[in-house]
């Protein structure tokens, strides 16, 4: 027992902690992915004046589970004449790279407070925080082109090949403007490290105005940069309005036509995970990361209880909604979930009187704001899907090369000028 403890207090503990964090993050992200598909179907349906999934479980909440089971039990068809190694490698590559990009995203500023250390190792709210965090994300995005190109080619069929080539050409083109539009932020922060970029947008004094998108401290408001980045990111993840390569009416299903059951699910998960990763990048780089839009003045301290203000009514609504249903999931699990949510909210609110709970409330401010911003950007993605028609391929290429790239280069030049004149004392 003693040797295990000594092993854990030294380097071994660091590795065990990292693997534990990776396992936890994977579990959370895969669950969020599943419910993101539910969220998308519900929101797009409501925008189209229909209801969306509402049969499988109350409000269709068990739909992702049903879809997952369907994917697992479907027949796995491998077309003849494919190059087996490349055919099997492509979805695996896409999924691995998409999930790997989550390793450098920081979810909160402070490590868990002293009682919660792992044998002497501090538990930060990120898996790794390299000095070149942003470059690591771009490297993973750059390698993501292979999943699509190889999938299209390996399927040994015309439509996937065309879809794969078009899709990878689109991804490579928008990668350029994506990386250029971020250079303004990097110039202002003087570092590639994501935590350092966030710490520059400290909003305790000015609130909303110190976020990178609005800021005037030593730089230029990065509105143009944000717009270029967000549009390029939508194109990079092959979402509407840039999803011609996988549009159903144009190319059957594009590069993943010949993939069935679990391999298709892997592409699906990869697409939604890269959506989450890009949304978190938007929140971190341009919208202040984990800083709230409200300044940290003494008379505004009550805004720290915003999480409980949201959780308590939501929990109560879940309880009242759940008791209407006749199934077990509706009658028992939903009210239980609702009580849990309302209970957490009430506990946080009790921080007004009980000191340790106050500490907990202060601690979750950072992650709460970051997660709400990520949620907002994911909603924006889904909103774009429900609203916009798709671009033609030549229009898509025109926007990428002739509109976004010159605009993002101009943004870099202007920001560099401003930083030179007013920034970095």
């Amino acid at each position: 027992m003693n040797s295990v403890t000594t092993f854990l207090t030294q380097d071994g503990g660091f590795w065990v902690l990292t693997f534990g964090k990776i396992a936890l993050l994977l579990f959370i992200v895969l669950t969020v992915n599943a419910y993101l598909t539910w969220f998308e179907r519900k929101v797009v349906a409501l925008m189209q004046s229909r209801v969306g999934p509402h049969r499988v479980g109350p409000h269709g909440l068990l739909q992702p589970a049903a879809d997952g089971l369907k994917f697992l039990f479907k027949e796995d068809v491998m077309p003849g004449g494919v190059d087996k190694f490349v055919y099997l490698l492509a979805p695996f590559l896409a999924l691995t790279l998409a999930l790997a990009s989550l390793a450098v995203i920081p979810f909160g500023p402070k490590p868990l407070p002293p009682p919660f250390t792992f044998f002497g190792h501090q538990i930060d709210l990120w898996i790794t925080n390299p000095d070149i965090g942003l470059l690591v994300l771009f490297a993973i995005t750059a390698l993501g082109v292979y999943g699509v190109a190889l999938a299209g080619w390996a399927s040994n069929s015309k439509y996937p090949l065309l879809g794969g080539l078009r899709s990878s050409a689109q991804m490579v083109s928008y990668e350029l403007s994506m990386t250029m539009s971020v250079v303004g932020v990097v110039l202002m922060a003087n570092s590639f490290s994501l935590t350092k970029i966030i710490s520059l947008q400290d909003s305790s004094k000015w609130g909303l105005l110190s976020w990178n998108i609005f800021t005037f401290h030593g730089g230029f408001p990065q509105v143009v940069g944000f717009l270029c980045f967000f549009i390029s990111a939508i194109a990079e993840t092959n979402r509407v309005p840039f999803d011609l390569p996988e549009a159903e009416s144009e190319l059957v299903a594009g590069f993943h036509t010949e993939y069935s059951s679990f391999k298709f699910a892997m592409f699906f998960i990869a697409e939604y995970t890269s959506m989450i990763s890009v949304s978190s990048l938007c929140a971190i780089l341009f919208f202040g990361g984990w800083y709230s839009p409200i300044p940290d003045l003494p008379w505004l301290q009550f805004t720290h209880y915003l999480p409980s203000l949201i959780l308590i009514p939501f929990g109560l609504w879940v309880i009242f909604d759940g008791v209407r249903y006749e199934t077990i999931f509706g009658k028992v699990i939903l009210p239980g979930l609702g009580t849990a949510i309302a209970g957490v909210g009430a506990l946080l609110l009790a921080g007004v009187w009980i000191a340790p709970l106050h500490e907990v409330n202060e601690y979750i401010q950072g992650p709460f704001w970051l997660l709400s911003k990520i949620f907002f950007f994911l909603f924006f993605y889904v909103w774009a899907r429900g609203t916009l028609p798709r671009f033609r391929y030549d229009q898509l290429m025109h926007i990428g090369w002739k509109l976004l790239l010159p605009v993002s280069i101009a943004n870099v030049i202007i920001t560099a000028g401003c930083v030179l004149r007013w920034g970095h004392p």
Binding site: I132, F138, V172
Partner: protein, 168 residues
């Protein structure tokens, strides 16, 4: 057997296996994938040496752009597996021994003169991007501008090559 040494041997073995696979595979797409494996393992080796910016640039530019170009061309030209896969006589009896002799000579030179190579390695030292950019834009600004000109020339060359023949 310290941890960096183990990681070095793993990455080196991966790189050598990738390079061997480049030679031994019949289909060019498999050779391209092996080369990507070599490049990623070299990026890992750069990280091991503390050159993090170079590692990131290696993956972004080499692995994410140049090799994508290779894969595109292989797909567009519909390259198929090679027909005669046995080596020609000249290659087997002339080329292979000479190439192995070249490798052996280089390796022997490096091992023999190992003491001449300075070994002032500060462990865990990271080369910061700031220092590289200082060096790039002060000492090396002239080659930097020349390479931008070179890229412009390459773009024009590729455009000219891609034009269709004008029917006169």
């Amino acid at each position: 057997m310290s941890a960096p040494l183990i990681v070095f041997f793993l990455l080196a073995a991966l790189a050598v296996v990738g390079a061997l696979s480049l030679i031994l595979q019949k289909h060019p797409i498999h050779s391209a994938l092996s080369l990507i494996v070599v490049m990623v393992s070299l990026a890992g080796l750069y990280l091991l040496m503390g050159a993090e910016f170079v590692a990131a640039v290696q993956i972004i530019v080499y692995g994410g752009a140049i090799m994508v170009l290779f894969v595109f061309v292989i797909m567009l030209l519909n390259a198929s597996a090679e027909e005669h896969t046995d080596f020609s006589k000249l290659a087997k009896f002339g080329g292979l021994p000479l190439a192995l002799a070249l490798t052996g000579l280089l390796a022997a030179a490096m091992i023999h003169n190992g003491s001449a190579v300075p070994n002032n390695v500060t462990p865990d030292a990271l080369a910061s991007t700031t220092d590289i950019s200082m060096s790039l834009f002060s000492t090396f600004v002239y080659p930097f501008e020349l390479t931008s000109f070179l890229i412009l020339v390459a773009i024009m060359g590729a455009l000219v090559l891609a034009q269709r023949e004008k029917k006169t």
